[in-house]
Subunit: 243 residues, 2 copies
């Protein structure tokens, strides 16, 4: 059975303007790989309703899961929930269960649940809430789309509560080997090896060390016996070059 | 006149698998902002021919410029040039000017220009070469697509040689103000201010300091007088909260 696939949609002007460096994508990639879900595409779009809707429609049709980050706070530039509702063609309004979470949180912290904060209880019809143990305002899952916060600690906490419910794939395994040979010198035998092990994927990533060229070969797949065999072939092909 | 827009296409399994953290997007975002070009979308796709072609077609039709990173090395997983040629419907082959650059480079460094390395001289018909001062293998521009290496030092050098030829927009300016107020408490006046200054964009980014909630307000636009006026309004709205 093929591994499930996923896409990520990062929403926020601050990433595209260069103000903020996204940290959630790298975290998601690692978490998904550990559960055998293949991250196949990432898109980063600004706080723009039509752009978010179009990206959601493209990604949710093409992948088993879509994870979004950003745009679910209380301010005017937080427009993700409305865009998700529009993409699914469902109404959105303040929902009692989400409001209750916020009421309890703000009562505990002595802050007012004002109109702006209540916006964070607006949930598209039919969605399931995602727990936010950091600041209460929930994310939500609707269809195959999981809508989470952009703040890295909250994104990670929400992801941790979403992942156990998803069907896992065969674990994505990888092994790597560092060779003190320039990429251009190992490219032809590496291509032939990749062709012989078409069920695996072979990546080659160049580096420099003390002025000498090397490359790291990464072999990825789901069959550990095949990966072991490919690694032994690599060692046989490039004896004396292993860094 | 509206500012030119741009998109970035990051190509590489290693980014999506979580092995490598992309650094080029953040660099590109900053460089474009400085020249008044608005980065409107980023996509990250794996080393997959059809996926690269589809992303190129979507992005080059929607934006003034498309910048790609990754997939132009000598190994079998470097398939960007072929995908770009396919997207533009033009043939691709080793080109004399690109071959001459590689010949000179490998002659200087005492390495062989073998068949794998010669793949890096394959250039889609009609493209202009982009200089690679680090390792000679050129990038190229075709139509509104600029094809560059994924290695950050080479990406940055190629970008520096591409940018001066592009039409600049009005500089994208921004000012910011840190407030020691939770986002939910400033959201309504901030929304009203954003509505009154619809020619500017207002972002709100929460943070915590010593357990207290604050937010950074970023005002972006091209008219410094308007940005100054909006900042003065912010100061007037939230006296005593400036961090």
């Amino acid at each position: 059975m093929p591994n499930p696939t996923a896409a990520m949609l990062v929403i926020g002007d601050e990433i595209l303007s260069g103000r903020t460096r996204d940290a959630n994508m790298h975290h998601l990639a690692g978490e998904l790989a550990g559960r055998g879900i293949v991250l196949r595409e990432v898109r980063i779009v600004p706080d723009d309703h039509a752009g978010i809707v179009a990206a959601l429609d493209a990604l949710r049709g093409a992948h088993d899961h879509v994870f979004t980050s950003g745009g679910i706070g209380p301010t005017h530039d937080d427009i993700t929930a409305d865009a998700v509702a529009a993409a699914f063609g469902v109404p959105i309004d303040v929902r009692d269960d989400a409001r209750a979470l916020l009421e309890a949180h703000y009562a505990r912290s002595g802050m007012a649940l004002n109109a702006a904060r209540l916006r964070m209880a607006r949930i598209p019809e039919g969605a399931c809430l995602i727990d936010n143990p950091v600041s209460a305002a929930p994310g939500f899952s609707i269809g195959n789309v999981h809508v989470m916060a952009g703040v890295p600690a909250i994104f990670a906490a929400m992801l941790a509560s979403v992942l156990p419910a998803l069907t896992q794939g065969a674990p994505l395994l990888h092994q790597s080997l560092r060779l003190m040979r320039a990429e251009g010198e190992i490219a032809t035998p590496l291509r032939d090896l990749a062709a012989a092990y078409a069920d695996l994927s072979f990546g080659s990533y160049p580096f420099q060390r003390d002025g000498a060229f090397g490359c790291q070969i990464v072999v990825r797949g789901t069959d550990s016996v095949r990966i072991d065999a490919a690694m032994m072939e690599l060692v046989r092909l490039f004896p004396g070059d292993i860094a």
